[in-house]
């Protein structure tokens, strides 16, 4: 048998790849195998990535979905995204969404997945876009202040609590004007 790459030298290296259950076999000579090896070097983790693991996790979720389907009360068709028309089983297959709206379309199925991927966390706690985040910023600060307020009340620091209450009122009025004034 000759090497599949160069068709010059006899094949001495037989490479079997199984990716997502699909098996491919490569027959290569020493030189070409070495070259391939160097290519692998350049692609860290090219063969097996987090996405493949993810597809595995999702298949488990899919199981739950199918058992719901077999229930006598099941009437819905398979969930799909109205914006890019990706179905949930397509997502499960490739591990990637079609568009940002998919998150809304599949929200109820995503909770267990996100919980598993991110060690239980389900709520974003980081950066908020500066320009489009307008009202979100205010609401986040209100939430934070409400927490501080509760702590202050618990510690019977009533003067401090009153101050915080004023701050919350101010922010809430800002939030109102934000919606009435159509932004900023």
């Amino acid at each position: 048998m000759f090497c599949q790459e160069c068709n010059e030298r006899p094949a001495t290296v037989h490479l079997t790849k199984i990716i997502n259950g699909e098996k491919t076999i490569l027959h290569l000579c020493d030189k070409c195998a070495q070259e391939k090896g160097e290519m692998f070097m350049m692609h860290p983790g090219a063969g097996f990535s987090i996405n493949h693991l993810l597809a595995g996790l999702l298949n488990m979720e899919q199981g739950a979905f199918h058992s719901a389907q077999s229930s006598p009360f099941y009437q819905q068709t398979e969930p799909h995204c109205p914006h890019c028309s990706m179905t949930y089983s397509q997502f499960v297959k490739i591990g990637h969404f079609g568009c940002p709206n998919c998150y809304d379309a599949f929200r109820e199925y995503l909770t267990p997945l996100l919980r598993r991927l991110h060690s239980g966390s389900l709520v974003h706690n980081g950066k908020i876009p500066r320009r489009m985040g307008g009202s979100i910023h205010i609401r986040k600060s209100i939430e934070e202040l409400k927490q501080i307020l509760q702590e202050a009340v618990a510690k019977e620091e009533f003067e401090k609590a009153a101050e915080i209450r004023d701050q919350i009122k101010y922010l809430e009025s800002q939030l109102d004007s934000y919606f009435q004034g159509g932004g900023n």
């Binding site: 070097m41 860290p44 993810l54 990706m86 991927l117 991110h118 709520v123 974003h124 706690n125």
Partner: protein, 354 residues
């Protein structure tokens, strides 16, 4: 091409090896994944959408010069030669996926190559800042600044509850991946690495060899990065990673001291044998080169070898890869020709030191 000229063109700022803790931490990287509202992700988008995305993102930085960085240059992946793409991958400026599989991919690069913004990779926008040594917070600050510049012009896909929406749910939330490339020969020689990797996984961090497959780490170079992107703030994610990296640095230093005490002459022998190979070889494979380079770098750090600059490992690990070797040769090379060229390049680089 002369070796001086070649290296001048080849080296990025992050390879300079002058950042903090750079005896152990080779580089720090922060990547932010972002997507534009109302456009399908690259897995599903049309050519028209792809082109509009490139244009929108490019317009946000076009004709601007950033303090200390200068302007960003747009490279369209389809316009590049295969060898040029490969060199960008070897320098870690673009991902293999963008080079090989992405349709309508592009990258915005700063001249010092610290900033690269990939367009239409797995996500519409991936902002990457790559710094020498341990500078995670600096990299985060810079990535955030470019994020704000782009957000001034485009509407990001953002959900109040789950944050920045990404093509893959493993990145949702902050879209932040922070990673550090570390040279850990002491922990490998003392076999402590085998215990460290599972412990790191339990902390929500991933450790892998950056060159080589699976658990094998060519040149004893490991990449440590965060896995979780949702539920924590960017600062907390980076802070947690930084704390673990600092512990790893301390353990690596302790392992090296331990080796000096218990097997000084054996270690010195290993270092100088590798130095001998690198300065005299006529043919060398990438694996052997990586392992010898790691030994020599350890020898420099521990004071066995004097008069050779430290960044030799960072530099030669990159420029002895196939793409760079072919660029240095000025044309395509067969694998066995590469091994010869690699040996020549390493010998010439070592001669520059004396």
């Amino acid at each position: 091409m002369s070796i001086e000229k070649f290296l001048n063109q080849a080296l990025s700022s992050w390879m300079s090896g002058d950042g903090p803790e750079s005896d152990i931490v080779l580089s720090s990287r922060v990547r932010l994944a972002r997507n534009l509202k109302n456009y399908r992700f690259p897995t599903a988008f049309s050519s028209e959408e792809a082109k509009e995305i490139i244009e929108k993102v490019y317009n946000s930085v076009k004709d601007k010069s950033f303090p200390g960085i200068g302007p960003l240059e747009l490279l369209v992946i389809d316009d590049l030669q295969p060898l040029q793409k490969r060199v960008l991958v070897e320098k870690h400026l673009i991902s293999p996926h963008l080079a090989e599989n992405a349709t309508h991919g592009a990258v915005l690069l700063s001249e010092n190559e610290e900033i690269s913004i990939m367009i239409n990779e797995e996500d519409h926008v991936r902002i990457q800042c790559l710094y020498s040594g341990l500078q995670l917070f600096e990299a985060l600050k810079m990535a955030n600044a470019f994020d704000d510049v782009i957000e001034d012009y485009v509407d990001y896909a953002f959900d109040e509850k789950i944050g920045y929406l990404t093509s893959c749910p493993t990145n949702v939330g902050t879209g932040l991946r922070a990673s550090v490339m570390m040279h850990l020969p002491g922990l490998v020689l003392t076999r402590e690495m085998n215990n460290i990797i599972p412990a790191m996984n339990r902390l929500g961090l991933v450790v892998r060899g950056i060159y080589g497959e699976g658990s094998e780490a060519l040149g004893n170079i490991f990449q440590v990065s965060n896995q979780i992107t949702l539920g924590k703030s960017e600062e907390d994610i980076v802070d947690e990673l930084q704390n673990v990296v600092k512990q790893l640095i301390a353990q690596e230093r302790a392992a090296r001291e331990n080796l000096r005490k218990t097997s000084n002459i054996q270690l010195e022998d290993k270092v100088f044998r590798s130095y001998g190979i690198l300065s005299n070889c006529r043919i060398i494979e990438s694996k052997e080169a990586a392992s010898c380079l790691s030994d020599v770098r350890l020898g420099i750090d521990m004071g066995y070898i004097k008069g050779i600059s430290k960044n030799i490992l960072n530099e030669l690990m990159i420029v002895t890869q196939p793409g760079f070797l072919q660029q240095y040769a000025g044309g395509p090379l067969r694998p066995n020709e590469r091994d010869v060229r690699r040996a020549t390049l390493i010998r010439e680089r070592l001669k520059m030191e004396n």
